[in-house]
Symmetry: C2
Subunit: 212 residues, 2 copies
């Protein structure tokens, strides 16, 4: 994706997209030795990215992640990672955080690739979601319909939106609810965002296997 091109072009090759809102996640420099504090719970963001993309000894090339970072000093900023294109990423939090920190050094307004497969832009969640018209969007919330009820008809392209440990603020949630097809849940318990991703992937992997 060259600078200024639309996010939607880059999403063409992806089937699954995971989107997290990081309410306090840093939009500037932060300390790799203190992701929870200095990074504004950047550890949650890193685990979310890793769980969206990695399997054992491999990466999900049909999956992508977008993180909407809303912490200081320069919110909002959004980072997109393309599973089929990302390089030099390993699943440990510190590695993922290093790549995020590098991306945040670029102050581009439009989408810019800061390392292979990692892109950043000064975009709000509203702007990001507007580029996802090809995707059936689902919002994750504890009171949603069980994902297992989505049964045997997975959509061609699905996007899942979730909040971090602070959830999603009311005004942003209203925005999301206007865009999504349905609100879903994955567990009778309230789980961490990256745990939800693992369960969604497993659900879709099982459906895909049934289709074969």
């Amino acid at each position: 994706m060259s600078q200024g091109s639309k996010l939607s072009d880059e999403l063409n090759s992806l089937k699954k997209l995971f989107i997290i809102v990081g309410n306090k996640a840093s939009t500037g420099d932060f300390n790799l030795n203190d992701l929870p504090g200095s990074g504004g719970r950047m550890d949650i963001i890193c685990r979310f990215i890793a769980q969206s993309l990695f399997i054992s000894h491999g990466i999900r090339e049909d999956s992508g992640v977008i993180t909407i970072l809303l912490g200081e000093p320069d919110p909002p900023r959004s980072i997109f990672v393309h599973g089929g294109k990302v390089r030099y990423m390993s699943p440990d939090e510190r590695n993922v955080a290093g790549l995020i920190r590098k991306a945040l050094r670029h102050k581009s307004e439009e989408w810019k690739e800061t390392s292979p497969g990692i892109f950043i832009a000064k975009k709000s969640i509203n702007e990001v979601l507007s580029d996802l018209n090809d995707f059936s969007m689902f919002y994750l919330r504890e009171d949603g319909r069980d994902i297992f009820d989505l049964s045997n008809e997975p959509e061609e392209k699905m996007a899942f939106i979730i909040g971090d440990h602070l959830g999603v603020k009311e005004d942003i949630e209203e925005l999301i609810l206007k865009k999504v097809k349905e609100t879903i849940s994955v567990s009778p318990l309230s789980l961490q965002a990256d745990q939800c991703v693992v369960i969604i992937h497993n659900f879709l992997d099982r459906l895909e296997e049934l289709e074969c």
Copy 2:
């Protein structure tokens, strides 16, 4: 658990136990800034512990983790974390790694509590499994029976054993297979150890909800 007491006493209050074999995981000091290299993929161990215990804003008090560390300089060493007793742990890898490193400084042969809810001993997997007679043990491997087939009759106490990115060596696997009730799998894909834990928890959480 005072020094020298048996692991089995400490396991009485736990219903779910997750056991990982860390083939290269450090048994001495390691660098918190390089968990994959210096720690011998200690990042995998840390994520495994975190996913076994944490949910959103809470901890699973009925769950525990045992990590069998087989890396240099002093293998084997085993660390046990009790979800109902552990304190000062947060789910980020660096925090968990710090507590492991602290435990490894204690050279006790028998189980010793090195911080609240965290215990270490110079025990092999054989010695550890011998203390788990109250548990129905399951071994995780890609060719196992789908966990979803375990249907509506969860055991009272279940232990799940899994390898890290290198799997489990043949001699250790033989040992495990003698002890376990069954070999199970959780996904049509080969997943990371901590991802398997998330899926097992979700399976059991759903069964528990059905029972209510």
